[in-house]
């Protein structure tokens, strides 16, 4: 485990990207790292693409990661994975949630949403490791689609060879009391699964 890492989280407005990245930032801070986190909100609620950068280090200057310098890229949506892929460093790890959120431009216009096979083949070329996780389906099976991010964070904690406690402490503090147990379950499904493709 290292206290120096760059993270990128990407999704679509409404997917909880900002909460998930708050958790990643808090975990770093609790472990004693200097932490910075950056996102842009404002119009994100209206279905726009959302990205959030989190950086842990001894001292962190820029709140933004540089392209090609991200160690862990958590993509909550297939198209958004492809859109921000160049931020991942060569050899970096992608945690990819198998979910499509169709932009309206593909409905009234001629834009084409890339097929899953194409996304997967492209990201495999660019990443050191790809973990393909059907987080939404897992979350729905657990009883609430909103815990999909805890599945992804569980998988991230395992990739970083960190203890579950370091993460669960923060997740418990950040999610509503009545959803704590479900988030814990989701976290462990993510943490214990073998998602490598």
């Amino acid at each position: 485990m290292t206290l120096t890492a760059n993270f990128l989280l990407a999704g679509v407005g409404g997917q909880g990207t900002l909460l998930a990245s708050d958790i990643v930032a808090d975990v770093g801070m609790h472990l004693g790292a200097d932490v910075k986190k950056s996102e842009v909100h404002g119009m994100s609620q209206r279905g726009g693409a959302v990205t959030s950068h989190v950086r842990w280090g001894e001292t962190v200057s820029s709140p933004l990661c540089e392209k090609g310098a991200v160690d862990y890229f958590v993509a909550q949506e297939m198209l958004e994975a492809l859109r921000w892929m160049e931020f991942l460093k060569p050899g970096g790890t992608l945690l990819l949630s198998v979910q499509q959120i169709i932009p309206t431009s593909t409905v009234y216009g001629n834009d084409l949403y890339p097929a899953d096979e194409r996304v997967i083949s492209l990201v495999k070329q660019a990443a050191g490791k790809v973990l393909l996780i059907d987080a939404k389906k897992i979350a729905e099976e657990l009883g609430n689609a909103r815990v999909a991010n805890s599945v992804l964070l569980g998988a991230l904690s395992a990739q970083m060879e960190m203890t579950a406690e370091a993460w669960l402490e923060v997740i418990v503090a950040r999610v509503p009391q009545k959803h704590v147990e479900l988030n814990r379950k989701a976290f462990f499904v993510g943490r214990e699964g073998n998602w490598l493709i």
């Binding site: 679509v12 407005g13 708050d22 930032a25 808090d26 801070m29 200097d34 932490v35 910075k36 986190k37 950056s38 996102e39 842009v40 909100h41 404002g42 119009m43 994100s44 609620q45 209206r46 279905g47 726009g48 693409a49 962190v60 200057s61 820029s62 709140p63 933004l64 990661c65 540089e66 392209k67 090609g68 310098a69 198209l79 958004e80 492809l82 859109r83 892929m85 160049e86 991942l88 460093k89 060569p90 169709i102 932009p103 309206t104 431009s105 593909t106 409905v107 009234y108 216009g109 834009d111 084409l112 949403y113 890339p114 492209l122 070329q125 660019a126």
Partner: protein, 599 residues
């Protein structure tokens, strides 16, 4: 450990509380909105959403005159609105401290321009500080108040979107309230008639000289000496990016943006071989340093437009031969990806309005708010958008400029109170026969659903008396004011047509309740698959809940439509536009589920 991860805006609010601020006012605007939302959580501070930024600043100025530390916060273009008050306050000075936060938006994440508000400090002859992370943001609020009271001046604190919204670790402190400074009547100081103002101007100029002396020793202006072959002058987030790209260079970090410390800059310049300025947007430091007679580079290397990032700085630095390593390019052919621009929400009442206006083929002079999205495909109904409240004046001007009578102004409820009323009064006064459609969604939507005079909901979510737009408009002299549910497309269309035809100044109030405020009466709608022939009519409303089905219409070889049951909130516009009755109406909801979401 009293440390917390705070955004720049949260840190500014915390800083205000610790500095003993007692009055704070603002109009919401990205990226500044969360400052006041966080200030509102401190019970010791009176805080309010004002109707616009100028009013907010006047409220803060009045509170400072009366003896309490006060703050006004706004986005960069808000300071344009408030600038007239900034300029008189520069002359009058203050009594208790006054700090004005301007949150600039390089990169136009949510704005109509990317103006650099550092110019306002020079223009209004007041000091300005700029933090580069949340800790500094918090500390600078306190420092700004000390400066304000020491030099009898309003103080500007500039952030940018990146600093306002990035989070970093902050040491929390305690609140300290200074003793109240009693207000004493002093017309030559507080009454800016020409005779008195003329006497204040030299005081302002002397103050600026003293502030420049102060800047020489201001602790936020720091020299960090490293390799002296390159000396970098920077502030704000640019400083952070530059530290990443040039870890070994010498730095002069200017936390005090105006007035500039001439001796400190000259001293730094003399210690380094080459002096470059890394600053977002305008060459503000660069030009002012050159005026001092010190050779500085900057915009010959770094871009004049758009937000910086570590790779923007690295790319420019590499092209100029300042660093060896280029940005990492990860080339792989992903083709052209569909964009994901912000869209009107599923069920948004504004969609009905623009659907009808597009059908009527009228020229639409629109305004700032969620309804600005009416310009996006597929609705593409809008002709002009400029600034808060501009819709009505521009519509009148286009009419006077020779456009036929079919242009309409579209303005939101909050924007109407912000800057729409004077323009409407003007149209009535001059009898310019334009139709104004007030799209009243009962909230200030784009900035995150704040209240406004029309909804009567305050910053603290208390419900006060609603200022009735229809009555206001009638009082202004509009004889026929029609309030209509735009969800009833036919009725709305006929009302708008009639208003245009009246050839008089006319106002239509379209009730377009925001889905975050009020529920639609029906449950989710559904495509009847066997009846849909993929005609694409419902695709043209641009609803994010509707997409192309995997099921094809075999006769026409095109995809049928499908409605996402999670995203659909039951507005029924798709049902109204479907020519084949291939959409099943949602069931009426139980009354209990219809209550307003906002209390």
């Amino acid at each position: 450990m009293n440390k917390k991860l705070l955004s720049g805006n949260e840190a500014l609010a915390r800083g205000a509380w610790e500095a003993g601020v007692e009055v704070a006012a603002a109009y919401p605007g990205t990226p500044s909105t969360e400052i006041l939302e966080n200030v509102a959580r401190y019970k010791e501070i009176y805080s309010e959403w004002s109707t616009n930024e100028k009013v907010a600043l006047d409220v803060a100025i009045g509170a400072a005159y009366s003896g309490k530390r006060s703050m006004a916060t706004m986005k960069h273009v808000g300071l344009n609105v408030a600038s007239e008050s900034l300029f008189y306050a520069s002359y009058t000075g203050i009594n208790a401290g006054l700090v004005i936060v301007t949150a600039d938006d390089p990169g136009l994440h949510s704005s109509q321009n990317e103006q650099d508000n550092r110019h306002y400090a020079k223009f209004a002859k007041v000091p300005m500080l700029e933090p580069s992370d949340s800790q500094e943001a918090k500390e600078m609020v306190g420092a700004c108040f000390e400066l304000s009271e020491k030099f009898d001046t309003p103080v500007l604190l500039r952030t940018t979107t990146r600093t306002s919204h990035a989070k970093s670790i902050v040491d929390l402190g305690e609140r300290k309230v200074s003793p109240k400074r009693a207000y004493e009547k002093n017309p030559p100081k507080y009454v800016m008639i020409p005779g008195y103002a003329k006497r204040r101007h030299p005081i302002v100029e002397e103050r600026l000289i003293k502030l420049a002396e102060y800047a020489e020793t201001c602790s936020f202006n720091k020299m960090e000496m490293g390799d002296t072959s390159l000396g970098i002058v920077a502030t704000g987030p640019s400083y952070q990016y530059a530290k990443e790209v040039f870890p070994n260079a010498s730095f002069l970090k200017l936390g005090m943006v105006w007035p500039l410390p001439k001796k400190l800059i000259a001293d730094f310049a003399s210690k380094v071989k080459r002096l470059i300025v890394i600053e977002e947007l305008d060459p503000f430091f660069e030009e002012n340093i050159r005026i001092m007679g010190i050779p500085a580079e900057g915009k010959n290397i770094f871009p004049l437009v758009d937000e910086f990032s570590p790779e923007v700085v690295r790319k420019s630095a590499h092209a100029a031969g300042l660093v060896d390593a280029p940005p990492i390019e990860r080339a792989f052919d992903k083709g052209v990806l569909p964009m994901r621009p912000p869209v009107l929400c599923a069920g948004c009442g504004h969609r009905d309005v623009f659907w009808v206006l597009r059908k009527l083929k009228v020229t639409v002079n629109s305004d700032i708010g969620c309804y600005a999205l009416g310009v996006m495909p597929p609705l593409t109904a809008t002709d002009t958008i400029g600034a808060m409240g501009a819709s009505i004046g521009v519509a009148a001007g286009m009419r006077r400029g020779g456009l036929d009578g079919s242009n309409v102004a579209v303005i939101g409820d909050s924007t109407f109170f912000h800057a729409g009323m004077p323009a409407l009064a003007n149209a009535i006064y001059n009898q310019t026969p334009i139709t104004t459609i007030v799209v009243d969604n009962r909230t200030t939507g784009m900035t995150g659903h704040q209240g406004n005079p029309a909804s009567g909901m305050t910053l603290h979510r208390d419900l006060h008396a609603e200022v009735d737009i229809a009555q206001v408009v009638r009082g202004m002299g509009i004889e026929e004011v029609v309030t209509v549910e735009s969800r009833d497309l036919d009725e709305f269309e006929s009302v708008v047509k009639k208003a245009i035809k009246s050839n008089k100044p006319a106002v239509v109030i379209a009730k377009t309740p925001c889905v975050f405020v009020t529920s639609h009466p029906r449950e989710t709608y559904k495509i009847v698959e066997e009846d849909c022939n993929g005609c694409t009519m419902c695709f043209r409303i641009g609803c994010p809940a509707i997409s192309k089905s995997e099921v094809m219409d075999e006769q026409h070889n095109r995809p049928k439509a499908v409605i996402d049951p999670v995203a659909c909130v039951g507005c029924g516009l798709c049902y109204d536009v479907c020519a084949r009755q291939a959409i099943l109406e949602g069931a009426l909801k139980q009354e209990a589920s219809l209550v307003s979401h906002v209390s």
